[in-house]
Amino acid sequence: MKGIAADLSHVSQKGNVTGFTGDVELEPVVRGADLVVVAAGMPRLPGMQRDQLMAANGGVAVRVATAVSNACPGALLAFITNPVNMIVPTAAEVLKAHGVYDPRRLFGITTLDVVRSKKFIGDSMNISPNDVHIPVIGGHAGITILPLLTQCQPKFKRGLEETKQLTHRIQEAGTEVVNAKAGKGSATLSMAFAGAHFVDSLLRGIGGQEGVIECVFVASDLTEAPFFASPLELGKYGVKRYLPLPQMSDSERESLDKLLPVLQQNANEGIEFARKSLKELEKAAPAALP
């Protein structure tokens, strides 16, 4: 980490860089931070589903949420670590246990699904991907990723078959990269691009810019799933405004109905993981929690 910090510190932009290593130093890293973004954890290997990662990565959510609770409870906390659908509920549960939970300040970054949708749709329509705008709602794994092609601007004018194929490609794009990397990891560069884009939007919102809208996975009342990705306006304290659920076709409504129980199940597993970890922590150090 010191090598990366030294490397980055030579870049001629404002901002100091400091490097820390290991669990013991996690609190000093985040102390006083306005924003914490978490890319830590294992990537998927070919054949692996995102929920198999929970065993390895759930601990990341617990440790980071604990450090944030102790050292920067007002910070915005954004997770890239997979499986996002479970990691975010896990972190929420830990923040609640510490009495610092604010649902407006906890995010699962799903921006890469929007990035991929814009790129694939742009290619299909032979237009610049940056001119494509589309809500991508739900979660961040397989069928829980729901790109609302009927709400795409400009209009996505393709038949049912191509719409299905494109939806499937967006949902499985992560696996596409895992397979192409053949055991050497999952998406890193496109994820860094998407992550940086989302963090930039968070910073704009904090800075008071109006109309900063992103799709992101948050605690939500929009559907029966307790955590759900939808378009939100970002502001000084995180989520400023939850936009209403976008309009959708009957077929998209059907897909939504199918994914909601999966998200519900993911949330339950995430919460269960947190509760188990917190019990173990309590046994080890009873004074750790308020």
Binding site: A6, L8, A75, K118, K119, F193
Partner: protein, 347 residues
């Protein structure tokens, strides 16, 4: 994990226009990255993928390019991404490229000087030079592979032997020395490093790197002691990172940042915007000093170097430092030319 504090903000559109330029010719460009899977190549390719003037980004390396290409291809920007591997793939990757940027090769380990890499990295230079002559003789070649002081003369010599050499189109990327100078001086003066400007001339290793502090804007006001320490730090900054990485490599992220900035400037030069004068330092074929290759500030244009701005004004200490390092630089260049002649006959 990244913990951030607030800074100033700028709209995304203004930032893109500032970074990549607007206007100029509408020609779309093909850029090849040789060594795209390496520590510099991946972040460099990521940054270049975001340049809206690039229509094709071609990735080459010995292996594992498919995964990097699939990853980058999902980014919602204009460039299509293609990938090629091995000796046979190099010509395909570089075919009709407008710009070829080369981070390929091995990095230093602690205790090594850049010159220690010549043996293994000269072959990279040789292959790129042969391929460029064959498939993209008009391309701008931007070499990152160390030791640049030797590698650039190798490539020039081979291109000359092949009859495809244009001294205005061959660059050793020294932008990282400028980036570091700006970062360290910005810290010292407590100003935004982006507002710092100064020429960094000479070569790209140790005391061949000459940051001309007397020409720094804003004015550099350090004591003699501080000045000496700053110059030394700029000259040894590469080693600083090699040691901090403790055997895991040399500068990759800052190098990718600097190189993408330089390639973006090459692109702005090719696009030929009337509104701006694009000035960058780079190590090029030069008659500015008695060293055949030398880094100075250059104005970039549609055919590469439009004008070499020559030596900046220097104070006596800087002139002395220049005189004292020239023999070292000349020796590296002679070595490069000799190697280039040996390799020119290979295909």
């Amino acid at each position: 994990m990244l913990a951030l504090r607030l800074g100033t903000q700028i709209s995304r559109d203004r930032l893109r226009a500032f970074k990549f330029g607007c206007g100029g010719s509408r020609r779309s460009l093909k850029v090849a990255v040789v060594g795209a899977v390496g520590g510099i190549g991946q972040p460099l390719a990521l940054l270049l993928k975001q340049n809206p003037h690039i229509s094709r980004l071609s990735l080459h390396d010995l292996r594992n390019t498919a995964g990097v290409a699939a990853d980058l291809s999902h980014i919602n920007s204009r460039a299509t991404v293609c990938h090629f591997e091995g000796k046979d793939g190099l010509k395909k990757a570089m075919d009709k490229a407008d710009i070829v940027v080369v981070p390929a090769g091995l990095p230093r380990k602690p205790g090594m000087k850049r010159e220690d890499l010549v043996g293994v990295n000269a072959s990279v230079a040789c292959e790129v030079a042969h391929a460029a002559s064959a498939v993209c003789p008009g391309a701008l070649l931007a070499l990152i592979t160390n030791p640049i002081n030797v590698i650039v003369p190798i490539v020039a010599t081979i291109l000359q032997a092949k009859g495809t050499y244009d001294p205005n189109r061959l660059f050793g990327v020294t932008s990282l020395d400028v980036v570091r100078s700006k970062a360290f001086i910005g810290d010292f003066l407590n100003v935004d490093p982006q507002t710092v400007d100064l020429p960094v001339i000479g070569g790209h290793t140790g005391r061949t790197i000459l940051p001309i502090l007397s020409q720094c804007q804003p004015t550099y006001k350090g004591t003699d002691e501080e000045r000496k320490a700053l110059i030394k730090r700029i000259q040894e900054a590469g080693t600083e990172v090699v040691n901090a990485k403790d055997g895991l490599g040399s500068a990759t992220l800052s190098m990718a940042y600097a190189a993408s900035h330089f390639v973006n400037s090459l692109i702005r030069g090719i696009k030929g915007s009337k509104d701006e004068c694009i000035v960058e330092c780079a190590y090029v074929d030069s008659d500015v000093t008695e060293a055949k290759f030398f880094a100075t500030q250059l104005i970039l244009g549609p055919q590469g170097i439009k004008e070499n701005l020559g030596l900046p004004e220097m104070d006596d200490e800087e002139k002395q430092a220049l005189e004292s390092m020239l023999p070292l630089l000349k020796k590296s260049i002679e070595n490069g030319i000799k190697l280039g002649m040996e390799m020119a006959c290979q295909s």
